[in-house]
Amino acid sequence: MSELLEVRGLTVELATAQGWVRPVNELSLRIGAGESLGLVGESGSGKTMLALALMGLLPDRAKVSGEAWLGTKAKEAEEVKEAREMRPAGSRPRQLKDLLQLTEREWREVRGREVAMVFQEPMTSLNPVMRSGAQIQEAIRAHYPRMHAKLVEYWVLEALRLAAVPETKTRSQQFPHQLSGGLRQRVMIAMAIAAGLADPGLEMTPQERRRPEEVLTGPRLLIADEPTTALDVTIQKQILDLLGELRRRLGLGLLFITHDLGVVAQVADRIAVIYAGRIIEEGPAREVLSHPRHPYTQGLLKSSPSLEPGALTPIPGSVPQLKALPPGCAFEPRCPLRREECAAGVPALRFIASEHSARCILV
């Protein structure tokens, strides 16, 4: 699998009344093309700050360092074009861009088209006084101001159709309050993929693209921040299924942020667990959930209620305050297995298997 995103040593610092804090601390991760990474963490773990850093949406005063390389769409467009013209794939160097170095002008090209985000609360992220279709249009227009109105309309309905919105025409004319919570989240998803779908860089007519589904393109990377937390379970299941479907059809990489281990088990190929701004465990989803190695991951699993009554062991204490992080392992004060050495320094990520690592000296 080719690499889509590679984050190296990403640190986000924010100024607070108590001085600088680091919500994201030397964090590294990677997502392959078409892969789904589940980022699991509780509130205050830094997971949303990470997402905002990858979207270029951090507050102005935030200090960012590190690298976040994204394989660009230009490369993919090249490949598709070559395939169409039956030329053998060229040996061009892979085009990459560092998201953390983009200027605001460059971000306007990338945000929404190559990297897109679906937010948690569809009611507050949609504009209540705009018809849903007009909001999706806006996402397309931001990138292609000169696109013909008919074509924009076509892609709006196409985005809604891909987001499995029934009666796309009617729904696009409605305001957010006329839609159910599940439909609102589908509109949000349609909005996130719309600009990527409408990309004329591939120089294909909509009819051409529509037939061979593989040639549909959305954004390269979709960041979904707790997209189902506000939804009922049956609707949640539909949205999770939809995201899986879009991954397959559009080949998009997914960064799925959640605090719910049950949800992450449904959508993620790999899981990264984040605690106090650092990844503390990472590996294939099945492996991490069935054989967790970090005491925090183990604790999270034991405190997730299942349909079996009885088995519930919470983690004592609460997530540490960023302004008062313990000197060593951030989980040490709550850890049932702590030793003296744990407070000495931040443990390194250690590998249990080639794909599975944990930040704990006991591993």
Binding site: H259, L312, P314, I315, V319
Partner: protein, 278 residues
Amino acid sequence: MTFDSTAPEAVLDVKGLRKTFSRSTSVFSSDSAATSSAGRFTAVDGVTFRLLRTETLAVVGESGCGKTTLARMILRLIEPDAGEIYLAGQDLLAAEGKALREMRRQMQMIFQDPFASLNPRMKVGEIVGEPLAIHEPELSRAARRDKVAEMLQQVGMPLDTLNRYPHEFSGGQRQRIGIARALILRPRLVIADEPVSALDVSVGAQALLLFRELQREFGLTCLFISHSLPVVAQIASRIAVMQAGQFVEIGTTEYVLQKPVHPYTKQLLAAVPAIPEA
């Protein structure tokens, strides 16, 4: 107060409860929406159940199924259109004035959002002590303070909590404060509306364990409203599944989870995201 433990009494007896709302036809709803869904909307449609002493009945359903409307009617925050409610044998809907106030004292609520349900300008001691100040005004300040301190200790809060403000506490701690406020009057009935859904996983588990402990210690009788089957599996003795204003299935926790009969219950169970076992 002593109870005869061999004969469980019905703390709450609800019969044929119904509430209909008229659909709003505001200037913002378009014509098509207003005509297609015109008329009235039945939020709670003939709900009947009994809640026995020390029992926790969970009402599970998705948003809009009427579970919160049901809770509000039982607290008499809204008046039902039809039906009867008896609290410990007394007719709640007929009660007025002093009698109603006395009955309200017997039922307390634990709210969903620990950030919105505590007054940020009041110290924790005042928040937890307020129900006492209202319902037991004869109590001296010192006696009230002792009761509040004892209650806070029982929900696992440190002693210095009394003189601090809600913003100094985490979500899980605030939920404990909310629980302390609800229990300080030793109510006959506790209604909990999604009390852990706003909390993080590890903190939510702490709250559930505390709840279990308090169930035992106080012999709580509880109506527990939730959308989450895994959560209610941890603490409910019986589960009622609510859909479109009606109880479509009601039974012991074990039965509802393991041998669901109604297709909607089965659908809800199937939608619960499961974590693969080791």
